[in-house]
Amino acid sequence: MIPHERSLVDKWKDRPFALLGVNSDNTSTDKGMTLYKEKQKEMGVTWRSFRNEGSDPQISDDWRVRGWPTLYYIDHDGVIKHKNVRNGAKMEQVLEEMIAAAEAAAKK
């Protein structure tokens, strides 16, 4: 999952695309945070994440997330276009279409 996501971030770095995480790791303790930072470096996670527990109610509760990972595909107007497309090729296809639509909208 993470290596594929990293490749998407690289691939579309000059286009209107952002990968945003909502991270549920325990980062409220120093130990948890150190562990997180180590893993972040090791796995090459460069994108930004909300801290799930940093909001009240937790973001995952607000979004009724029942399983991890859960994916939402949100277009340039903030509209939910797809949920939980997980297949790698399908994911790229769906996002490519959405990014093209965002670029078309920006030109208008």
Binding site: M1, E5, L8, P16, F17, A18, L19, L20, G21, V22, N23, S24, D25, T27, M33, L35, Y36, K39, Q40, M43, R48, S49, F50, R51, N52, G54, S55, I59, S60, D62, W63, R64, V65, W68, P69, T70, L71, Y72, Y73, I74, D75, H76, D77, G78, V79, I80, K81, H82, K83, L95, M98, I99, A102, A106
Partner: protein, 254 residues
């Protein structure tokens, strides 16, 4: 190791069994409620033992650089599902069997035959009972194992049951299933029906909650705002990214 732990759990649960039996003043059958509680309790214990064991196994494997054996991930459901099946048979034909059938639907992990049998028994013996209202929630869960039979039983109850509360519960279960499959129009239609069928406040609260999911979080809706902080504590919002396509990923390293 797991087997020993399970044996220990079962040994500990014997005193409860003795009490339950001496409490039941009539006949040889156990009081069904006490029997159910005993089953649920020993199952919960076995599950928690299994989870601890699994965590320990994963940790050990990680330290040794080895793979976790697949079998370690299998929850100890088989014997409890078996017990539930025996108890359901003991109460065959009576509504006291329904909770045990529900237990099978709720907890089975790979006991396909038991699930199929439970759905079939519910359909033939209990479809018109009021008791079935308490277990309709579990029917969508077993759709994969039971195939069409669980779906048609749920549809039958949702559309035809003579008791409005039971119908409302079935409609709610079906709506949640539709919502999970992104069929929000069908989900909303069922939820609106529930509102007409019941005045039960708990059920109406659940309808309200389910409507959030089908309307606020459905494909085609504007995503709810997230006003939060990043890992470093810096505040930001989801709407800061308008103009860009956002792939929002609920994730963790764990």
């Amino acid at each position: 190791m797991l087997r020993h732990a399970l044996a220990a759990v079962l040994l500990f649960s014997i005193p409860t069994a003795v009490i339950a039996q001496s409490d039941a003043s009539t006949g040889t059958q156990q009081d069904p409620q006490a029997a159910y509680q005993k089953l649920a309790k020993s199952f919960a214990k076995a599950m928690s033992v299994w989870q601890d064991e699994l965590q320990a196994t994963i940790k050990k494997a990680q330290e040794a650089g080895e793979r976790v054996p697949r079998s370690a991930y299998a929850p100890p459901t088989k014997e409890f599902v078996g017990t539930a099946q025996e108890l359901a048979q003991e109460h065959a034909g009576k509504d006291t069997a329904v909770p045990f059938l529900g237990f099978i639907l709720k907890n089975a992990s790979r006991e396909r035959n038991a699930v199929k049998w439970a759905v079939k028994t519910l359909a033939s013996d209990h479809a018109e009972s009021k008791a079935i209202g308490d277990i309709v929630d579990y029917l969508p869960k077993v759709a994969r194992m039971a195939g069409r039979s669980s779906k048609s039983l749920l549809n039958d109850i949702a559309d035809n049951h003579s008791d409005n509360t039971v119908r409302a519960k079935a409609l709610l279960a079906r709506a949640r299933q539709s919502a999970a499959n992104d069929k929000s129009v069908a989900a909303v239609a069922d939820l609106e029906q529930v509102k007409k069928l019941t005045t039960d406040q708990d059920l109406l609260d659940e309808v309200k909650e389910a409507l959030v999911e089908t309307q606020k979080l459905a494909v085609g809706s504007v995503a709810p705002e997230i006003d939060g902080v990043d890992i470093d504590g810096v505040k930001f919002k989801l709407s800061d990214y308008r103009g860009k396509v956002v792939l929002l990923d609920f994730w963790g390293f764990w």
